[in-house]
């Protein structure tokens, strides 16, 4: 019986199933019987040696090591997070944020509809290192984008007064107007310069011709 079990294990190692029932039986026995599972391990090792597939450093009893490592592992308990209902401070903060945000957004919507600004005001102190700026200006504010006003205005400093915020906003909007004016004028000038370059060539040619006349005279 035992002999035939070892034989079955051997054929299982070689990836060859003997008979459905007996092989399943042997697998079950193998899980219970230390002797049989050791045989399973040894047969694999023999196979590896014969096929010359053994690694440089042999770890013969890897499974035991892993089992030890798992046993050593501290168990982590993950308690369910409780939602805090009665926290006066967080409730207060939420109210402040709720109050500030709509005011800011209304002001923006009223005065800067069509402007699209992504990013926060950049700090001039550390601009030298940055290659691409964090601000993006929208060239064509009236081009009919789906969501023209997307202004993420976040005031971290709560001590600032409302009027300060308003002036900061006005400044920001004025800045965006400046950038847009410059961008559209730049594009316009580039268009006009195409005509100009053709003219200047003609002008240069006529100048050269005049010079030639003078020389000839």
């Amino acid at each position: 019986m035992s002999e035939s079990k070892f034989e079955t294990i051997s054929s299982l190692v070689d990836n060859y199933r003997v008979a459905e029932q007996s092989s399943e039986q042997v697998i079950d026995d193998m899980l219970k019987d230390e002797h049989l599972s050791a045989a399973w391990q040894q047969y694999h090792l023999i196979g590896d040696v014969i096929r010359d597939e053994i690694p440089q450093i042999l770890q013969l009893d890897l499974s035991a090591q892993i089992a030890e490592a798992i046993a050593d592992e501290p168990s982590i308990l993950a308690p369910k997070t409780l939602t805090k209902v009665n926290d006066p401070q967080s409730g207060f903060k939420a109210k402040v944020v709720q109050l500030i945000k709509p005011v800011g957004q209304l002001a923006i919507a009223a005065s800067a509809a069509g402007l699209m600004i992504i990013g926060v005001q950049q700090n001039t102190a550390d601009t030298n290192e940055i290659i691409t700026p964090s601000q993006i200006v929208q060239t064509k504010p009236l081009a009919g984008f789906a969501n023209p006003v997307s202004f993420n205005y976040q005031q971290n400093d709560h001590s600032r007064t409302q009027s300060h915020q308003a002036t900061a906003l006005e400044q920001r909007i004025a800045q965006q107007h400046r950038f847009q004016a410059l961008l559209s004028d730049h594009q316009q000038q580039v268009k006009l310069s195409a005509a100009k370059s053709a003219q200047s060539k003609d002008a240069k040619q006529s100048l050269l011709e005049k010079d030639g006349e003078i020389v000839n005279n």
């Binding site: 064509k140 006009l192 195409a194």
Partner: protein
């Protein structure tokens, strides 16, 4: 004896180095030559083919779709005598570039007349043989003007718009400007994709073609354009160009040359400005100087895709720079502006 045996390997290694260097140089030269040929073919295709194409400009997380038509037709030469008119014919390029989203922005071109139809202005035409759109005009012209400031590198093949494409990189020779990557159709030589890339390889802006059709005959739209009466050509008086200004720009990246200087009012803000425009063949840089109500304002900047707008006020004078250049270049340009105190009001 020992020294001799040492010298020999050194000489040999030098020789080897030299030979391998020769090989690599010739390989690079071949790449550059190949790239230049591809770009010349692009230029030729852009001028000579009848094509009907669509592309999308992707920048700032937004996409602007365009429709672009180009064709070549033959018209009889007008200013010849009657006997010659039957035989003498002239090739005329027709072109339409239309922004498909938002208010109409169309650019029409018939030969040497380009018309702009924009919401900000009444339609106008200028005498020019190139349209000024999202694709740099130089690609349809003589690309050898770029050789002084950029290297051309043929990189490899890939698939773009379902076609076999050759990737050509236009690499700036210094750190003061951006690189341009072009994917060119192997069949037609036309552009399939264009990207503006920083020196560190960051993508700033790209143009992806979404449709390309090359035809033997002119498309209907272009035939209509041929018989359309274009707006009047505006005359740019020579007086307002090349104005003597009270300031100058003392630093620009190599290869940028002054295109024009003038005083004008900006259309949107009505602000009177003194203005200079520079160009290196591929990139335009505008410099604006005007009095400001603010005494001082620190450097502010924003970007529109690859285009940077930078602005600062020093002693009640506002100086601004606009162009597809890195921030470091724009800052250097702004700081290099100097004033002639005698002429300043």
């Amino acid at each position: 004896m020992k020294s001799l045996s040492l010298k020999l390997p050194i000489k040999l290694s030098f020789l080897l180095c030299f030979v391998s260097a020769c090989f690599s140089f010739s390989a690079i030269a071949a790449d550059a030559e190949q790239a230049k040929l591809s770009l010349e073919r692009l230029s030729q295709s852009l001028r000579q083919l009848n094509f009907n194409t669509s592309f999308v400009v992707v920048k700032n997380n937004q996409a602007e779709p365009y429709h672009w038509l180009h064709g070549v037709t033959e018209v009889p030469l007008s200013n010849r005598t009657d006997t010659q008119a039957d035989t003498a014919k002239q090739e005329v390029e027709l072109e339409i570039l239309a922004l498909l989203n938002g208010p109409r922005r169309d650019i029409l071109r018939v030969g040497n007349t380009v018309s702009y139809i924009e919401p900000e202005y009444a339609p106008y035409s200028i005498a020019s043989a190139q349209i000024s759109g999202p694709i740099p005009a130089v690609f349809g012209r003589d690309i050898s003007v770029l050789e002084n400031n950029y290297h051309f590198v043929s990189v490899g093949k890939s698939r773009v718009l379902g076609r076999a494409a050759q990737l050509i990189r236009i690499v700036p020779q210094d750190a003061h400007r951006y690189g341009y990557w072009l994917w060119l159709d192997q069949d037609s030589g036309l552009m399939l994709k264009l990207a503006v890339i920083t020196r560190k390889g960051k993508l700033l802006e790209q143009i992806q073609f979404t449709h390309l059709e090359i035809t033997e005959s002119l498309s209907e739209n272009l035939k209509q354009l041929q018989v359309t009466e274009l707006p009047k050509v505006i005359e740019l008086s020579a007086k307002e160009n090349d104005t003597e200004l009270a300031w100058q720009v003392n630093w620009l990246p190599d290869g940028f040359e002054e295109v024009k200087s003038d005083r004008h009012r900006m259309n949107s803000s009505k602000q009177a400005v003194e203005f200079m425009l520079f160009n290196d063949g591929l990139v335009d840089i505008s410099v604006y100087v005007n009095p400001s109500q603010d005494k001082q304002r620190a450097v502010e900047y924003a970007s529109d895709g690859a285009t940077l707008v930078l602005n600062q006020v020093v002693n009640n004078i506002e100086v601004s720079v606009v162009g597809k250049i890195p921030l470091s270049s724009a800052e250097k340009i702004v700081n290099s502006v100097s004033f002639n105190p005698n002429k300043l009001n």
